[in-house]
């Protein structure tokens, strides 16, 4: 998240949004939506869901622009809204018994929807993505968010803490536990 992405320009755009100026929406979306999409996609691993979440995040941002504390950068706030919505979506999908679905035809990836063997479903695409999907699927919500922000957004520990509203110590512990858990899952999943 560079300065160009969250400097004064964002503040100006947010101020315009707060006054109901819709023209400010397009540059704000243009600036942030790829990053937010990758956060949501890293978390949900489902393209349609990820796009819905990003759209919902911008709707929330638009509606809450007037209440936004202009002293902080908009970038982490946008990321936080997106992560929270992704977690909500994840829970909803889980309730429907759809923890994650095969991914992205465009990426030539197809991942299994559960941990068990499914010989009738062919696993295509890149092995790394599939294995990661299975391991991420096994993580608790917040650990999953920490991993996504670190390894799909390359945020620093401080940025992750700020985005998720967690202490630095909690972020470190979460990442440590998450990596160990993923390692265990990947080891079990190895053929």
């Amino acid at each position: 998240m560079g300065a160009a992405e969250s400097g004064e320009d964002d503040r100006e755009l947010m101020a315009r949004l707060a006054k109901g100026d819709r023209e400010a929406l397009t540059p704000l979306v243009e600036r942030h939506y790829r990053r937010l999409y990758r956060i949501a996609l890293g978390y949900l691993r489902q393209r349609d869901d990820a796009l819905d979440v990003v759209q919902e995040a911008f709707v929330k941002v638009f509606q809450a622009a007037a209440r936004w504390d202009g002293s902080a950068d908009a970038g982490p706030w946008l990321s936080r809204v997106t992560v929270n919505l992704a977690i909500d979506r994840w829970r909803r999908n889980r309730r429907r018994g759809q923890t994650f679905s095969p991914l992205a035809e465009g990426d030539h990836l197809e991942v299994l929807a559960d941990h068990g063997p499914a010989p009738d479903r062919r696993v295509l695409g890149r092995e790394a993505g599939e294995r990661v999907a299975v391991a991420l699927n096994d993580l608790p919500e917040r650990q999953r968010a920490v991993v996504v922000l670190r390894h799909y957004q390359e945020l620093s520990l401080e940025e992750i803490a700020s985005t998720l509203g967690m202490s630095l110590g909690t972020v470190k512990s979460s990442l440590h536990r998450a990596l160990h858990r993923m390692r265990a899952t990947l080891t079990e999943a190895k053929p």
Binding site: E30, V59, Q63, G106, D107, Y152
Partner: protein, 260 residues
């Protein structure tokens, strides 16, 4: 050594994640050089991180341009405002029902009390019946508005699908010149399933939209037949058809009209 191992365990993870710097990093590296168990653990965690680094999702691009997403957001905000401004059905129905009940109970005795000598029957509507008509009229208006809003939502969603197909430029198979239209075919099928609810059951309320709805249905049927990775010329056929019918513009105008 055991104590150092336990103390440094979290640092080993952070180092594998590329998050240690300065003195902490130096200490951890020194420990890794001396501790085979931590080194093995570090290597295993590094493999996890490396797998994530190879994940193609890290560079995935959204299949919708920023301008389209911004337009969707603006529309969603508008719809939320409309929903927030719209009175709840029971806020309308309750007073109407109360008025009808009160009229039914109070008006006939009053009418009886003050009624002059019987005269020839007049062609007026009895009060209770008038209240019923009033209530029916209010409910009919609500139904009509709901039907129009539903049709507007339907057209909006259909417009999104058609824009997604028209705007796609993502190759999914360059060799065979195929483009990725994502979930558009699936969404089209879902929308086609809802079509009857919108057109037929909307009745007169959506009569003016019927032409656009019919053309949208034809376009959706074309999209619904597509696979998600589709030959460029098939996408172009859909695009041409949408353009020839000026469908996106008509959807926009009709949506505005339906939303009042």
């Amino acid at each position: 050594m055991i104590l150092a191992h336990l103390r440094l365990r979290r640092r080993v993870s952070l180092h594998a994640a590329g998050l240690l710097f300065g003195r902490e990093r130096e200490e951890t590296l020194a420990h890794l050089a001396a501790c085979a168990r931590c080194r093995a653990e570090h290597d295993a965690l590094r493999a996890v991180v490396a797998a994530m680094e190879r994940d193609p999702l890290r560079s995935a691009e959204p299949d919708v341009p920023a301008a389209v997403l911004a337009a969707r957001v603006a529309r969603e905000v508008d719809q939320t405002l409309v929903r927030a401004g719209r009175p709840r059905w029971w806020l309308v129905a309750l007073p109407a029902t109360a008025a009808a009940v009160a009229a039914a109970l109070l008006v006939p005795p009053l009418v009886k009390q003050f009624r002059p000598e019987p005269r020839a029957a007049r062609a007026t509507i009895p009060p209770a019946e008038a209240s019923e008509l009033l209530e029916e009229d209010a409910l009919a208006r609500i139904e009509r508005n709901l039907a129009r809003e539903q049709a507007a939502r339907y057209l909006n969603e259909a417009g999104d699908v058609l824009v997604a197909v028209a705007a796609t430029g993502i190759d999914c198979d360059r060799k065979d010149d195929r483009l990725d239209v994502g979930a558009a075919p699936e969404r089209s099928r879902e929308l086609l399933e809802k079509r009857r609810l919108v057109g037929d059951e909307g009745g007169e309320a959506v009569a003016s939209a019927r032409g656009v709805l019919d053309d949208v249905e034809l376009a959706l049927r074309q999209v619904a037949e597509l696979p998600s990775c589709v030959k460029r010329r098939d996408v172009e056929l859909v695009q041409k058809d949408v353009e020839a019918r000026q469908l996106l513009m008509r959807i926009r105008l009709m949506t505005r009209e339906l939303e009042g």
